[in-house]
């Protein structure tokens, strides 16, 4: 399983791996929003946590179809399915690799981008901590969606349609926790709810995703 993680990380870092694309997308979205809503610092700082959350979510979505599609196309997935790793383990490792090359960089970049959007001072900490807890759920839910659509020729758009509704609870609790924390209110309830969603997703979704993969390999 560690070998699989190392391979996926190595593939992501090499040319054509797509590492950094999500991050660049996140930067561009955060730059475009002020052009759309105007440069007033008061408005920007009020909407910053929400915009950063939506931006991170969309950036995460961008690379989901690569989780299984490439391995499916070149036959690796067949060979992995017959290897001595449980399918649930494959899903878990793939989601972890996706988080390490997408979710983690987004989390680290978000406080910096927050400065661009006049985020108030405790906000940097809150956007970091909520994304740190929330993005693993985004990767895991995304891996489930990718497993559902892996056999399809043009699954990318369908994948978004399937995954975005599943992202709603994570987004609501994550953005709410960040907004409350920034405003100096207690954010523990939404934070705990989001942590619960992350924990539940990591515990249960590998089974659903593995079932979907087995169906798609049949």
């Amino acid at each position: 399983m560690i070998a699989l993680l190392v391979r996926d990380l190595r593939l992501a870092m090499r040319a054509g791996g797509g590492f950094g694309l999500g991050l660049a997308f996140f930067l561009i979205v955060s730059t475009l929003v002020p052009f759309g809503v105007g440069p007033e610092a008061a408005i920007l700082s009020r909407i910053a946590p929400g915009i950063l959350w939506v931006g991170a979510l969309l950036a995460c979505l961008l690379s989901l179809d690569r989780i299984f599609q490439l391995d499916f196309e070149d036959g690796s997935l067949d060979l992995l399915a017959t290897a001595p790793i449980p399918m649930e383990g494959i899903v878990g490792v793939k989601a972890l690799a996706h988080w390490l090359v997408t979710g983690l960089p987004l989390t680290l970049a978000a406080p910096v981008l927050g400065t661009l959007m006049n985020l108030e001072s405790p906000g940097h900490f809150w956007i970091f901590i909520t994304l740190l807890i929330g993005t693993p759920a985004l990767s895991m839910i995304g891996a489930f969606g990718a497993a559902l659509t892996v056999g399809l020729k043009r699954g990318g758009l369908l994948l978004s349609l399937l995954v975005l509704p599943l992202y709603i609870p994570t987004l609501i609790f994550g953005a709410e926790a960040a907004t409350r924390g920034t405003a100096g209110l207690s954010a523990s309830t939404p934070l705990l709810m989001m942590a619960g969603i992350t924990a539940g997703s990591i515990a249960l979704l590998p089974f659903a995703a593995a079932a979907a993969l087995r169906v798609n390999l049949r």
């Binding site: 489930f144 559902l148 659509t149 056999g151 399809l152 699954g155 369908l158 349609l161 399937l162 975005l164 509704p165 599943l166 709603i168 609870p169 609501i172 609790f173 709410e176 409350r180 309830t189 939404p190 709810m193 969603i197 979704l205 659903a208 079932a211 979907a212 169906v215 798609n216 049949r218």
Partner: protein
């Protein structure tokens, strides 16, 4: 005689063929009088005006929108556990009816909302939940439409329906929480419906019964069509394999 016998396509086609005209008939004699009673023979409410009468479409369609998803969840589970083709076809057949009910509920809600609250749309927890439900229906149907092989499609959509149900419930709680967080206490409430007087309530019950029967009739027709489609697909595959 166990309930599972109706999961056999032979039994299902025979029985549904016989039952269907009765369901359609019963639907006609509940839904049409219910609507007429509701729209023309109830007194005009003093403070709501005529617009209140839209509840005879709005309330039943909203109820069906949720109940149809629950029915899809149950039939998807039956497919996963016992692999009865009729079950999962019924889920597929119900999805289009469900999404139509959701859209009707949203549109009638907006039409009603304008005179009542002066706005077509508010991010009230209930309205938002229905919008989210609409998205879940769309995803489910899009996945069905994208996959050629009927068994693969049935398996994957069933998994999606089960996982989606969990996230739909989570969304409902999240939306409740989120709205309270944004505008405290100012949310629109539809609870008034639960206190409407008998004059309005009796025709409403009739309309709800009519909508349930309408759904039954439609889902039977569509399930029969779906089963025929599966049969067609199977014949098509067989013919092509014979040529090969």
């Amino acid at each position: 005689m166990s309930l599972w016998e109706f999961a056999n396509p032979v039994k299902f086609m025979a029985l549904s063929g016989k039952v269907l005209p009765w369901v359609i008939g019963l639907c006609a004699i509940t839904l049409i009088p219910g609507m007429i009673w509701g729209f023309f023979f109830t007194p005009e409410a003093t403070n709501f005006g005529n617009s209140v009468k839209i509840i005879y479409i709005h309330v039943p369609s909203a109820m069906m929108a949720i109940n149809i998803w629950v029915m899809m969840l149950v039939t998807s589970l039956i497919w996963i556990v016992r692999r009865h083709h009729v079950s999962v076809r019924a889920a597929k057949a119900a999805a289009l009816i469900g999404v139509t009910m959701t859209v009707i509920a949203l549109i009638t809600g907006a039409i009603w909302g304008q005179p009542m609250w002066g706005t077509y749309w508010a991010w009230d927890p209930r309205l938002t939940s229905f919008l989210i439900l609409f998205l879940f229906y769309l995803g489910y149907m899009a996945l069905w439409a994208a996959i050629d092989n009927p068994d693969t499609a049935a398996d994957l959509t069933s998994v999606l329906c089960i996982v989606g149900s969990v996230f739909a419930v989570l969304s409902r709680y999240a939306v409740n929480f989120w709205n309270q967080g944004l505008h405290q206490g100012a949310s629109l409430s539809l609870d008034k419906e639960e206190h409407v007087s008998n004059v309005y309530f009796q025709p409403l019950l009739l309309c709800i019964a009519g909508f349930i029967l309408l759904f039954l009739a439609l889902v039977l027709i569509r399930t029969r069509t779906e089963l025929r489609l599966v049969r067609l697909h199977r014949l098509d595959v067989r013919e092509r394999m014979k040529d090969a």
